[in-house]
């Protein structure tokens, strides 16, 4: 993948790779609190069935994962572990912040022990609001992330520079804020 690292991939090939990457995401379930159960319902239950979207919720370790779903309250005691987990993941890596607690602190906005937002520790690609969000909301977050990956400059992501669009500028996605297409 030397071409990708140097950012010299031809545009049609980038598009092809992006389609392949967006439909084979291995997602690590970083379940922390209440949202973990809704994430389990979205990823592990027959009713919602995330695998039809091309997402595989099986990796037992963050080292095998492309996407991590931080679902639930991140406390100050847990924050170093979240950071370490994120650093263990190989590039390119994506983060979905699920639930109000992970987004901004949620009902614990004035608590002394809760980190107000996981985006203080790791960069977040998609925010899914709700307390907890319904499984459908998480699935929409996954679909929006897939749309985003399709418009991404792969080289920048490989070099660890984060999201750089090849088509247009884009902010972090909030589910319910409309599609980015």
């Amino acid at each position: 993948m030397g071409l990708v690292d140097r950012g010299r991939l031809p545009a049609p090939l980038t598009k092809l790779f992006n389609i392949g990457r967006s439909y084979s995401m291995w997602v690590y379930q970083w379940g922390l609190a209440c949202c973990a159960i809704e994430m389990g319902a979205a990823f592990g239950s027959p009713r919602y069935d995330v695998m039809r979207l091309g997402v595989i919720p099986l990796p037992a370790s963050p080292r095998q994962a492309d996407l991590v779903v931080v679902s639930g309250t991140v406390t100050d005691k847990m924050a170093p572990a979240v950071k370490r987990l994120y650093e263990q993941m190989p590039e390119p890596k994506y983060v979905i912040s699920m639930g109000s607690c992970a987004n901004c602190g949620g009902p614990y906005w004035d608590s002394y022990s809760v980190t107000k937002g996981v985006d203080q520790i790791v960069p977040v690609d998609v925010y899914v609001p709700g307390c907890p969000p319904r499984p459908e909301a998480l699935l929409e977050g996954v679909v929006l992330l897939q749309q985003r990956i399709k418009h991404e400059d792969m080289g920048a992501r490989w070099r660890g520079e984060g999201f750089k669009p090849i088509v247009r500028e884009s902010e972090p996605i909030v589910v319910g804020g409309g599609p980015i297409e």
């Binding site: 922390l32 609190a33 209440c34 406390t75 005691k77 009902p107 608590s111």
Partner: protein, 390 residues
């Protein structure tokens, strides 16, 4: 102490041997194993530090606090109706059950009582949240031992219960439906018929799980005689709920306490098991789901007419005083000690949650067990991290 079975004796001898081995001449080198804070088997973020001698645990300690969200302090800066929204999230699988003891304590202080219909509906929703909680436990139990099918079945049938809770309260997960003096709303049309059908489905689910999981030879050999807790030890450590009943102690707050809930109007059996091992704890919970479906069935037959809310002032000020109310939640005894100084919010709330006491027995029960059994014992003790750390 009651007569020990052969399995209990063996478990006791193994723990004694593990203690003694540290002193013998040919001492093997110990190893410290860290499980967690994030581990699929810990239902959240519990960390267990275990010192091993070979394959046997000689010392183990849970390290809690990774999910500490400061509920007791937060309740001091919230008003009484706001506290209900907060304490929903303590035991996140049985949310409605968390609200009830707090609301009852506040009602006790205000010296009011909910109308009979509200008490009935409260009890129905209480039992529904118990079913939602424990059915996920039954599914999750298989995952801890390498069987993936039960969790799919649990999620499949749990969705029906969540639909019922959502239909009645509007909230799928955290209803926040209980009010001081009654309930927010009455039940919607057609809800009772749907409930009857869902309860049938849940009883079928219990039969399926009993055949598939409890009848499985591997499951039995991994849980029978493992993690034995005798009755007196269980009492000393303050276990409650199914963990205590599995040790043969006949103790259930639903039956033993007279609270303004509708439990005195229904006929149900409190199951106990003499063994006290992992299998007994799982089996008791399975029976509890069955009993809960029967309680719901009886309650919807005898649902009285009338209002669901008494007259309460628009701005709720709770008079000065102290109240302690505890109920039999899905995980065990959960209680709130509410101190009010006559303000809009409570002055101090002490939360007694079941899992904190249930998990405090792990240093005792994990001593002498083998490493793979740590997971099954923890799974059978059944704790929820929000309930431990609060």
């Amino acid at each position: 102490m009651t007569m020990l079975s052969e399995r209990q004796q063996m478990s006791y001898i193994a723990s004694q041997a593990a203690d003694a081995r540290l002193n013998v001449e040919l001492e093997t080198e110990g190893m410290t194993l860290n499980i967690g804070p994030q581990h699929p088997a810990t239902h959240g973020t519990l960390r267990i530090i275990a010192r091993l001698d070979g394959e046997q645990v000689v010392w183990a300690e849970p390290s809690a606090g990774y999910m500490h969200r400061g509920y007791e302090k937060l309740t001091e800066v919230r008003t009484f109706p706001q506290v209900t929204a907060l304490i929903n999230r303590i035991d996140w699988l049985g949310s409605f059950a968390n609200e009830v003891p707090f609301i009852l304590a506040a009602e006790q202080l205000m010296d009011i009582e909910a109308p009979p219909r509200a008490q009935h509906i409260r009890t129905i929703l209480f039992e529904l949240s118990r079913i939602a909680n424990v059915s996920l436990f039954l599914g999750d139990l298989g995952v801890q031992m390498g069987a993936v099918t039960p969790v799919f079945m649990a999620f499949r049938d749990r969705e029906y219960v969540l639909n019922l809770i959502e239909g009645a309260t509007g909230g799928r997960f955290h209803p926040n439906f209980d009010r001081i003096g009654g309930l927010k709303d009455d039940l919607p049309k057609g809800w009772l018929d749907e409930t009857r059908q869902v309860m049938k489905k849940l009883r079928n689910f219990c039969d399926e799980i009993e055949d598939l999981l409890f009848g499985n030879e591997i499951f039995q050999s991994r849980t029978r005689g493992i993690g034995v807790i005798p009755a007196d030890v269980a009492r000393q450590y303050g276990l409650s709920g199914a963990n205590l009943r599995a040790s043969g102690v006949d103790w259930d707050l639903r039956r033993d306490q007279s609270l303004p809930l509708a439990y005195d109007k229904v006929d149900f059996r409190v199951w106990t098991h003499p063994d006290g091992d992992s299998w007994a704890r799982c089996w008791i919970r399975l029976q509890e789901v069955r009993e809960a479906t029967k309680i719901v069935d009886q309650l919807i037959e005898t649902l009285p007419p009338g209002p669901v809310m008494t007259k309460v002032p628009r701005i709720i000020k709770v008079p000065e005083g102290e109240a302690w109310v505890s109920t039999e939640n899905p995980l065990g005894e959960m209680g709130y000690y509410v101190v009010s100084k006559g303000d809009l919010g409570p002055f101090r709330v002490k939360i007694r949650s079941a899992s904190f006491n249930n998990i405090s027995i792990t240093p005792w029960v994990l001593k002498g067990v083998y490493v793979p059994d740590i997971i099954t014992i923890l799974a059978s003790l059944y704790f929820i991290l929000g309930d431990i750390d609060r």
